[in-house]
Symmetry: C2
Subunit: 222 residues, 2 copies
């Protein structure tokens, strides 16, 4: 089975163009690593496979020893080839059952869901198939031009309520949304533009982490 | 180790657009199956992963029991998920060593090479990594707009001579080229447009098969 659950509170999904190129993605991950990021997803649908694997290896090196999982979007083969901690598939990617079979029981597998029906379908998968749902887009987003209609916070809450699989919110989520995510039962904020391309990605990550803690009524650490 | 070598003589590489859609790809493979095709490669860089896996499963069904291997281009994860007979990677896809590790020892792994240097590099891989080279493009081709400069037949012969790994020619190859391929030491003709989208894909396949046999001085079967 999958080991200790990561802290999905601040879950960075990389965007190579928004960061400013592959080297800037690695620098962004290094900055986020020491600023409270809980998990990182490598997403670069425009890269060829060789480039994606190289970037993935650079991010694994950047995260080495930090206990922060690296998840690869769509490409289960790349996740396995580079020894990543898991994969994330969308509704148009590999079937989650196939992906879980290839990944084995010990890696993370996330699934994007856009509707209550998709969340319920995820709940009917064999236990242990998927251990995280990426729910959204909360707001319409330019990062994924082929994305489904925005769910809004009501839609996010309905999806969280429809499944026992932990849900993170994605789609132009910012630090100001931490309370909404927590109130709906979400376990974290998956962010792209709130970190990628920000003038100070470390400070942007700290801001998200503080907001996530504050929303739980925890003591804010600095 | 990999079992009996397939007959790569007529190696169909599918093009969904040229065939006229996914269902037409399956019909083309059915037609080619009974007309002498030796191997089929599923190639559809425009499909999403879910579509590619579905098409791959349809082609596996179409080839069931025929002893004709199905090879998946680029996506090693899809090859494994659907139980295909192998994968084919290009210079910008997964590293062949990574791909072989994921595929295990029993599946086919092909590699595209465009130059003598790439063929020599393939020869320096651990034994058994790659068991076929796709060499080309022999002629400039519209199917792969990002392809390298055409090798021509002299270039193909030099590449064949630079490696002990079996080589097939690809890139607007037609039945009329069978003699050139054999003379250069090639083990087959990888074709897209010579079958996909032809008015009679079965007859087109038979023509290629006859030409391939004729070029070896064998008796022509009809």
């Amino acid at each position: 089975m999958i080991g200790a659950a990561p802290d999905w509170g601040v879950y960075l999904v990389t965007d190579t163009a928004q960061c400013g190129g592959p080297q800037a993605v690695a620098r962004t991950v290094v900055a986020a690593r020491s600023a409270g990021v809980g998990a990182v997803q490598l997403r670069d649908p425009d890269a060829n496979t060789r480039e994606l694997a190289a970037l993935g290896r650079a991010l694994l090196a950047a995260l080495s020893g930090a206990g922060i999982p690296l998840i690869v979007n769509d490409r289960v083969d790349v996740a396995l080839a580079i020894g990543a901690d898991g994969a994330h598939v969308g509704q148009r990617d590999l079937d989650p059952v196939d992906a879980r079979r290839l990944l084995g029981p010990d890696r993370h597998l996330g699934l994007s869901v856009e509707t209550v029906d998709q969340a319920r379908a995820a709940g009917r998968l064999p236990p242990g198939t998927v251990n995280l749902l990426g729910v959204g887009p909360i707001r319409a987003t330019a990062s994924k031009p082929d994305a489904a209609p925005a769910t809004g916070w009501d839609g996010f809450a309905r999806i969280c309520a429809a499944t026992s699989i932990p849900c993170v919110a994605i789609g132009r989520v910012t630090a100001a949304d931490a309370g909404q995510v927590r109130a709906a039962g979400g376990v974290g904020m998956a962010v792209i533009s709130a970190i990628c391309g920000q003038p100070d990605p470390a400070e942007a990550t700290r801001r998200l982490r503080r907001a996530w803690r504050d929303a739980a009524g925890e003591t804010v650490e600095r």
